[in-house]
């Protein structure tokens, strides 16, 4: 390992918290999705992400302690993944924007100089390729569906759009890891990301939303009010009965 430990742990938390929080968000759909089949699809994606979080947080430290005993300000996930599910279209918009980014990141992370990250990325890249595919398929169905579904899909994208610039932000921590060839530079695939999203939206007969003022800060622990509401039910049991087992 060449990168300084602190930066590496921070990066593991960023990737791990992205997966954990989005996995928890998606599992809120369990039993509430528009159809039984969709319920299973979303639960499968959620389980893939929770599995990824277990690996990443386990490498950063004690996975359970990190997941269940940290406070809001200590979470390093991007703001996009903590956004509310909204309706099904908003969930799909969030999934499309995140999975496309995560997939492009993992495609590059397989060449990391860090052996753990190579192993993690090699496993996760296949899972996330499917998440991206599924979200793209649904975005097209909804955008190119009825007037109602197209409006909902456009509204969902509009809600999530301002959180995408954060995905390409590079701060000092990330720069250290980019220099050490541990992490890919996300700016290197920003154009590819924009054109991939535009291509899905074009198939969906949707216009990309107008650019809005970017909202950033998740990587530094500056979260929206939504994250606390994600953590409360997730952490309740371990907080109330510390070290409970079953």
């Amino acid at each position: 390992m060449t990168a300084p430990d602190a930066a590496r742990v921070d990066y593991l938390l960023r990737l791990g918290d992205d997966a954990l929080i989005l996995g928890q968000r998606l599992s809120e759909w369990c039993g509430h999705a528009p159809a039984l089949e969709v319920d299973l699809s979303l639960a499968n994606v959620a389980l893939d992400l929770v599995g990824q979080a277990t690996l990443l947080l386990g490498e950063a430290g004690d996975a359970d302690k990190l997941a269940f005993h940290r406070d809001v300000l200590d979470f390093k996930n991007c703001l996009l993944v903590e956004q509310p599910n909204g309706d099904f279209a908003q969930t799909i918009a969030r999934q499309l924007l995140f999975s496309t980014w995560q997939h492009m990141l993992l495609q590059r992370l397989v060449n990391s100089s860090d052996r753990f990250l190579v192993e993690y990325a090699s496993k996760a890249v296949k899972e996330v390729a499917y998440h991206r595919e599924l979200a793209s398929e649904w975005a097209v169905r909804l955008g190119d569906g009825t007037d109602e579904s197209a409006k909902r899909m456009a509204d969902g994208l509009d809600w999530c759009w301002r959180f995408t610039p954060e995905l390409f932000e590079v701060d000092a921590t990330l720069q250290t890891l980019i220099d050490a060839k541990v992490a890919p530079d996300p700016r290197g695939f920003e154009d590819e990301y924009r054109s991939a999203i535009s291509s899905v939206l074009s198939d969906a007969q949707l216009e990309p939303p107008a650019d809005q003022r970017a909202i950033v800060g998740g990587r530094r622990g500056h979260h929206s009010e939504h994250l606390g509401h994600v953590l409360a039910p997730m952490q309740y049991l371990q907080r109330t009965y510390p070290d409970a087992t079953w």
């Binding site: 159809a35 089949e37 969709v38 499968n44």
Partner: protein, 94 residues
């Protein structure tokens, strides 16, 4: 919502060399999502290496009322099974 979607029959090949077997059905708005639903519903536990889906309405089925004329005549024709041959002990793998 799923009540509005057509039904698709799902077939899974559990490993190379074996035939696809019918495992159940899913609702989906079109063929591509039917494949995704089949994957998410029936191959979560490494059940398969290949999937087919076919619109249930495209399956031509025999009429249960005709079961008598279609299937019962075969019941008393045991000579159609190759069970009347003596197999020498030296022949293996039969």
């Amino acid at each position: 919502m799923s009540g509005d979607w057509p039904l698709w029959e799902v077939f899974v090949r559990s490993k190379g060399g074996l035939s696809h077997r019918h495992v159940g059905s899913v609702h989906a708005p079109d063929a591509q999502l039917a494949l995704a639903h089949a994957r998410d519903t029936y191959t979560r536990r490494m059940e398969g290496v290949s999937l087919w889906v076919v619109a249930s309405k495209d399956i031509v089925a025999s009429d249960p009322d005709q079961a008598g004329e279609l299937f019962e005549p075969a019941e008393n024709k045991i000579y159609r099974h190759p069970t009347f041959y003596d197999i020498p002990d030296e022949v293996k793998h039969i």
